[in-house]
C-alpha cells in the first residue's frame, strides 16, 4: 500500500513542476490536490488524466479511490 509521501513523490516526478498535497487516513483512499503549470489550457478532464495516468492499473486496486483536485498556479 502506498504512503501519502509515495503518492506525492510519484505525482511530482510524473508531472514536472507539479506540487502535490496528499492526505490519506488508510493508505487506500487518497485526497489529492495538484498544482501544476502543465495544466494550463487543458480541460479538467485532461488535467485529471495527467494525474490518473500515473497510477494506471492501480486505481481500484492498491489505490481504492483518489479524490482529485487540480489547479493551475496563478
Amino acid at each position: 500500500m502506498p504512503s501519502a509521501d509515495e503518492v506525492k513523490r510519484r505525482i511530482e516526478t510524473g508531472i514536472p513542476g507539479a506540487a502535490a498535497e496528499v492526505q490519506t487516513h488508510d493508505e487506500v483512499h487518497f485526497d489529492v490536490v495538484v498544482r501544476a503549470s502543465a495544466f494550463e489550457g487543458l480541460t479538467r478532464v485532461k488535467q485529471h488524466r495527467l494525474v490518473m495516468d500515473i497510477f494506471e492499473g492501480e486505481l481500484g486496486g492498491a489505490i481504492h479511490a483518489l479524490a482529485l483536485k487540480t489547479e493551475v498556479p496563478t
Binding site: 479538467r44 478532464v45 485529471h48 488524466r49 490518473m52 486505481l59 481500484g60 479524490a67 482529485l68 483536485k69
Partner: protein, 132 residues
C-alpha cells in the same frame, strides 16, 4: 449483442444527446452516492439531460470507459465531450462553470426559462432497454 454493438450504441447516445449522464441507477433512484450528487447538481441547474443506467449489464460500463478513457462512474458528457465525473462536476458546479459549460438557465445568466419548459425529460435513452 456483441461488445462492439454496445460500444456503438453508447457512442450514438453520446452523439445524439446534448447532455448525457452515465450513472448507477436512475435519476429518480440513484444507486450510488456519487451518481446521486451529480444528478442533484444537474437538477439544481434545471438543465435537461439524458441518463443511462450502467448497472443492468457490466459491458455498458466496460465499453463506456473504453470510449471515454475514464475509469469511474458517473460520467457526464456535453456535446460529445466528457465534462468529468463527480469530483470535476462538483468543482465546476461550485465555481459556476458547470451551468456555463452546459448552457443551463440557472447559472448562465438572468434569461428566464422559456414558457412551457418542463422538467428534464426522463431518460430518453435506454441503452439497457435495447439490450433486451
Amino acid at each position: 449483442m456483441s461488445d462492439n454493438e454496445i460500444r456503438t450504441l453508447i457512442a450514438q447516445a453520446i452523439d445524439e444527446n446534448d447532455t448525457i449522464l452515465f450513472m448507477k441507477g436512475s435519476p429518480d433512484a440513484p444507486a450510488c452516492g456519487f451518481s446521486a450528487r451529480t444528478v442533484a447538481m444537474l437538477q439544481q441547474l434545471e438543465t435537461p439531460f439524458a441518463a443511462v443506467d450502467v448497472l443492468p449489464d457490466p459491458r455498458i460500463r466496460q465499453e463506456l470507459s473504453a470510449i471515454s478513457n475514464w475509469p469511474t462512474i458517473p460520467q457526464l458528457f456535453h456535446k460529445g465531450e466528457l465534462i468529468g465525473g463527480c469530483d470535476i462536476v462538483t468543482e465546476m458546479y461550485e465555481n459556476g462553470e458547470l451551468g456555463e459549460a452546459l448552457g443551463a438557465p440557472a447559472q448562465s445568466g438572468p434569461a428566464p426559462a422559456p414558457a412551457g419548459a418542463g422538467p428534464a425529460p426522463a431518460a430518453p435513452m435506454g441503452i439497457e432497454n435495447r439490450l433486451n
